[in-house]
Point group: C2
Chain length 160, copies 2
């Protein structure tokens, strides 16, 4: 158990210093933190999807290597379990002006989860196909694009 | 090639509809997008680290399952390759008020990358130990905490 020995070797002061600085940044309202985490997650999904949609539409020249890298990154994001950020009490009704998440999410978490997993499945296909040519990319991107509405139509308000 | 057949079966209208909606959201300045992606990534790192630092400090009761889940999520985030968000021209000098990323990052990308990989390595240990008791968690969290400064001290400005 190297870790247990490790902790004994760490002086109390060093440990406090290592733990203190980050913790200061973390002290925020848990509900605000959850909303920010969700929005951050979607920001990354958008950031990685952008070039893929651009290539599929023909706005950006197809680049197999870049497409594969972005799709792999999208897939990596789906390995992040965001359920801890979808906590009760963080809907638009609870926190007006801060989130567009409809209370309907918590009334039908099964449907919400299934819609999310549909996106995950289509991103898995995209990750396999993105580097295999523009037609393969376009088909897979189109399938991913269609899953967006699975969550956004029933579960996301138009306005904050 | 199921994907190629798939694309033929998709009408032009359906494809356009599937691609159009997301693309609208993606049309932003690439440098702004890169900065937002970096900040989103750090937001998620913070969100998952918070409970772990809290448990290590004793502010939050140790919970093996929750600790393991947060640490696994942190590890999942490290599988995301953020290099596409650290593009040249996106330092604080380039975009004052928007980012705290010092130009020094692009002057010593090797040091920056090594500091990041140090965090990744310590998070790997944390992911293995977080569920193994409070002492093991605390040692691993402390090691992760010490890596924060590896990037933040030399490469992050105090103010935006």
């Amino acid at each position: 158990m190297g870790s247990i020995q490790g902790i004994k070797a760490v002086s109390a002061w060093t440990l406090a210093a290592a733990l203190l600085a980050p913790t200061a940044a973390f002290s925020q309202d848990p509900n605000e933190g959850a909303v920010k985490a969700r929005q951050a997650y979607m920001q990354l999904i958008q950031f990685e999807s952008g070039p893929l949609f651009g290539m599929a539409k023909g706005d950006v020249p197809y680049d197999a290597e870049k497409a594969a890298a972005s799709a792999a990154n999208l897939q990596a994001l789906t390995k992040y379990d965001g359920s801890g950020a979808w906590t009760a009490g963080t809907s638009k009704a609870d926190m007006p002006g801060k989130t567009r998440a409809e209370a309907a999410i918590w009334e039908d978490m099964e449907k919400f989860g299934a819609a999310y997993m549909d996106m995950v499945a289509k991103i898995d296909v995209l990750a396999a196909q993105a580097g295999e040519g523009k037609d393969a990319l376009t088909a897979a991107v189109s399938d991913v694009g269609r899953t967006c509405g699975g969550c956004h139509k029933p579960f996301r308000a138009k306005e904050f």
